[in-house]
């Protein structure tokens, strides 16, 4: 099956930038109510507004291979980048994951995130792949960043959520 790309398994076994670190501007905890998976995530920004740089992103992700690997890729993609760039990556990741296989992703925008293209064919797993990303966007909002120009991740999450 094309879901479990080697690169995904690698990220899930040895996640990059894992663990919760100080200092941080905002901390959020997102839960997938279907399976109880959790992602606690912190962001530390340097600068103001969308030109601020993501100085650090630290997290504690408990979940499936897809959700833990996705958090690892998220950290790779946004640390050291501006909020503007990070939100562009978020949007590209979200677009690919909700494309039902039509969008194979752009490595320039999401790096190892392209390995998750196969997830978009499994609607029940899209939320797993977006758990950390949705938490990140929420953390940016809580840190005072205006995220209104981008698609709201929460709407998307509820679209794919299995209620139990």
């Amino acid at each position: 099956m094309d879901l479990y790309q080697e690169i995904i398994l690698e990220h899930s076994k040895r996640p990059h930038h894992a663990g919760l670190r100080e200092p941080f501007n905002a901390q959020v905890r997102h839960i997938n109510p279907t399976c109880g998976d959790e992602c606690t995530l912190r962001v530390q920004l340097r600068g103001e507004g969308r030109s601020a740089v993501v100085a650090d992103l630290s997290y504690d992700a408990i979940g499936c291979a897809i959700s833990t690997a996705s958090a690892s890729v998220l950290a790779d993609e946004v640390i050291g980048h501006s909020v503007e760039e990070a939100l562009t990556s978020f949007e590209a990741m979200r677009r690919m994951l909700t494309s039902k296989g039509a969008d194979t992703g752009d490595e320039e925008e999401i790096g190892d995130g392209v390995a998750f293209a196969g997830v978009s064919k499994y609607p029940a797993r899209v939320k797993c792949a977006l758990l950390g990303w949705a938490a990140f966007k929420d953390a940016l909002a809580q840190a005072g960043i205006d995220i209104s120009a981008t698609t709201t991740s929460t709407t998307l999450a509820s679209d794919t959520m299995e209620i139990s």
Binding site: Y4, L9, T34, C35, G36, D37, G63, I66, S164
Partner: protein, 438 residues
């Protein structure tokens, strides 16, 4: 058919005949793989006989029941009330004690809200004070549940406790996944007004000792509510033998349609209870100044009911009765034993729940340490095998068993030993994909 003298598993020929009644079982999934459906604990499939009964209702008798006097209205009402009789017989209950609800969740909420609504001024006027006192709930009173409850038999009681000021307590679990009845007498006390518990765990498969809990509840005067969602479809259930006061189950888990469930309750208790949902059908006399209610079961069936679904559920009861509930139980037991034996040969799999088949039903939850259940489920799905992954609406249970989530296979009468083998061989792909040492 092969002659069977003892209640045993279905023969190959019998299984083939049963499977022939379920059209969906012959479809393929995930690129041409035959469907292996092991998720009947979530919802079962429905045989042609159930679908035909629903279709016949709509094609020949469709009308709003308990309304109008034209011929179709009479026929629809008759079909609905006949369905009630059939379902009542299936669980050994008098017909007037069977209340139709949209599902088991609503049935359990109906009971929980009876306690809340009983607190309103005048709600229990005319009710024998001794009986009314059983529904009076407040600070100092206690509601007892268990740690293995499905959220449907947990959250309504938690909410009732919050609204009433009563305290929620629970019976814990052993590491094996059975109720720990060691401190039953200290959990269920004179302060206990309600004991709500599941007959069969939807995760662990544990069949609970109903009599022991009912005896203790009765000794302290508490009312008992049994969640029978995972027992009525799989075991012969007789409400009189069980001795509980209320029992809830859903139609869609027992080969019946979605959108219909049942609350059974002792008539004197139902007759004392204020309504939950109000409106048409549940009334006796309505004036602008106030309303009097119909007698049970109509008191709890506001609005035009799900007649076609009730008729379908009765057809499901007939179908199960024709198979023979002891045969259904024996067949599912054989599948459960085979699955437990197969899992026991795989030391990298850990069953969450009793590992022997004693007092155990056909829900088998397991984990592969180091691999998330969603990932296990995905590998199985890729092989055409449908199982449930997650916490199966039983988060406290999972927390108690020290797991976030599990993968669960669950059986119905239409499953076969070949499907157990298919599950086991697909499971064998998991260690290689995720690099788990075996």
């Amino acid at each position: 058919m092969t002659e069977v003298t003892l209640a045993g598993a279905f023969t190959t020929q019998e299984s083939a005949a049963i499977r022939g009644d379920f059209a969906i079982l012959s479809r393929s999934v995930r690129g041409g793989k035959p469907l292996v459906y092991l998720d009947s604990g979530a919802t079962s499939h429905k045989p042609r006989q159930v679908l035909d009964a629903e279709r016949a209702f709509y094609e020949q008798h469709n009308s709003a029941v308990h309304r109008g006097a034209h011929q179709l209205a009479e026929e629809a009402t008759d079909a609905f009330e006949s369905a009630r009789e059939t379902i009542a017989r299936f669980i050994g209950a008098p017909t007037r004690e069977v209340v139709f609800t949209k599902n088991a969740t609503e049935a359990l909420n109906l009971v929980a809200y009876a306690f809340s609504n009983a607190a309103a001024a005048g709600a229990m006027d005319g009710v024998d004070p001794a009986l009314a006192a059983r529904f009076a709930l407040g600070v100092g009173d206690e509601i007892v549940i268990t740690e293995m409850e499905h959220h449907a038999n947990l959250v309504p009681w938690q909410e009732l406790a919050r609204r009433s000021g009563a305290t929620l307590r629970w019976i814990g679990l052993t590491d094996e996944g059975r109720l720990d009845l060691g401190d039953l007498d200290t959990v269920i006390t004179d302060r206990t007004k309600i004991v709500a518990f599941t007959h069969v765990s939807n995760v662990l498969g544990t069949i609970n000792p109903v009599a022991a809990i009912v005896d203790r509840a009765r000794a302290v005067g508490a009312l008992t509510v049994l969640d029978a969602c995972q027992s009525v479809p799989h075991l012969a259930v007789d409400v009189v033998d069980l001795g509980v006061d209320f029992l809830a189950f859903s139609g869609h888990k027992m080969l019946g349609p979605m959108g219909v469930g049942v609350l059974w309750g002792r008539y004197d208790l139902l007759a004392a209870m204020p309504p939950f949902l109000t409106g048409g059908s549940m009334i006796e006399d309505v004036r602008l100044e106030g309303t009097t209610y119909a007698a049970p079961p109509q008191r709890f069936e506001a609005g035009v009911p799900m007649a076609a679904q009730a008729v379908g559920l009765a057809a499901a009861c007939d179908y199960l009765t024709a198979l023979g509930m002891p045969r259904v139980t024996a067949h599912e037991h054989a599948l459960t034993e085979a699955l437990l034996a197969g899992l026991a040969q795989r030391p990298w799999v850990r069953v969450i729940g009793p590992v022997d088949g004693q007092n155990r039903s056909g829900a088998v939850a397991f984990v592969v340490d180091g691999v998330h259940p969603h990932d296990v489920g995905q590998i199985l799905d890729d092989a055409g095998i449908a199982v449930r992954v997650g916490h199966h609406c039983a988060s406290p249970l999972h927390r108690r068993m020290n797991v976030t989530a599990t993968t669960r296979a669950s059986f119905a009468a239409y499953n076969t030993l070949a499907e157990v083998d298919a599950l086991l061989s697909a499971l064998d792909r998991v260690p290689a994909v995720f690099g788990v040492a075996i």
